[in-house]
Symmetry: C2
Subunit: 159 residues, 2 copies
C-alpha cells in the first residue's frame, strides 16, 4: 500500500476522484474545478491546499485534499480535510484509514491539535467508520455559508 | 468606524477578546493560546491565519480571525471565519457586520467563492443575524474532530 504526497502528474486522476465523490454526494454537476486551477492550487507558488494520494499498482485510487485551519483556543494550526475518497473498486483494503493516518501523522509531527472534516448526515457508513477511529461529531455546531449573489452583496462597499 | 488588518501591537487586545468569546461560548477555560503563539501565528513568516479588528476611539472592540479554505467543487479558495466577536459594550453599532463585510470584500476581490464560519446551535441571536445577511446553514453536514489521545493514536505509524 502506498500513500504519498500528490505530484503534478496526478492532477487528472485527482480531479476524476473529486468528480466521483460529487456523484456519491448526490451533486454530480457541482464540480466546476478544472485540471488547470487544481494544478495551480496544489502546485503553484506557496500552495495553501494539499493532496495525499493512495496508489494501487500505479493507479491513483484514493485522495485526501486538505488545508490548514487554526484554533484560537489551542493557539495551534490543525488540518481540515476537505475531501476524502477511495474508488469503490478499491475499498476495504485500508486506503481510507491509511490516508487519514497520514494526515494524523502530520498533525502529531507538527504539533497540530486537531484533525477535522465534515460529513453528510445521511452517510452512515462513513460516520460509523470515523467514530471507530475516535472522531467526535461536533453536534452543537452548524456551519453557515455565504456565497453567490449574497456574497457579492455583502462584499459591496457601502457609504 | 474603523475596520483594519490587525497589527502586532493589537495582539494583547485580540487575545483578550478571544478569551471573552470563550466565556460567552461557555468554555471559559478553553483558551490555551498565549500572546506569543498568537503573535507568531498572525505575524510570523508566511502567516496562515489572519485578523481584522474593529477600532472605536483607539480601542480594539471587535475581532475577526480567519484563514483560507479551499473548495474542490468550485476550484477556488474561500475564507473560513474562525472567530467573530464584538465587545458587548460596543454592540449595536454595526461592528459585527462591518467585520463580515470586510471579509466578504476580500472574497469578491480575490474571486473566492465562499465565506464560511460555524455557529453554536443555541446562539439564536447570531443565527438570525447571519441569516439576515443571506448566510445559509449547512444543516445536512456535521463536523467531525479527532484530537488529544485519539489523534496521537491515529498518527502512530503501524507496521
Amino acid at each position: 500500500m502506498s500513500i504519498r504526497s500528490a505530484k503534478p502528474a496526478d492532477v487528472p486522476a485527482i480531479l476524476q476522484l473529486i468528480k466521483d465523490l460529487a456523484v456519491y454526494e448526490k451533486a454530480p454537476d457541482a464540480v466546476k474545478s478544472t485540471e488547470e486551477n487544481l494544478r495551480v492550487a496544489l502546485f503553484g507558488e506557496e500552495p495553501k491546499v494539499f493532496a495525499h494520494v493512495a496508489e494501487d499498482g500505479g493507479k491513483i485510487v484514493g485522495i485526501a485534499i486538505w488545508f490548514l485551519n487554526y484554533s484560537t483556543w489551542m493557539g495551534t494550526h490543525g488540518i481540515y480535510l476537505e475531501d476524502l475518497y477511495v474508488d469503490p473498486e478499491f475499498r476495504g483494503k485500508g486506503y481510507g484509514i491509511a490516508l487519514l493516518k497520514s494526515l494524523a501523522k502530520i498533525c502529531v509531527e507538527r504539533g497540530y491539535s486537531r484533525l477535522q472534516w465534515w460529513v453528510l448526515d445521511w452517510n452512515e457508513p462513513s460516520i460509523n467508520f470515523y467514530k471507530s477511529l475516535g472522531a467526535v461529531p461536533m453536534d452543537e455546531w452548524t456551519v453557515f455559508r455565504v456565497d453567490g449573489q449574497a456574497l457579492q452583496n455583502l462584499g459591496k462597499v457601502t457609504a
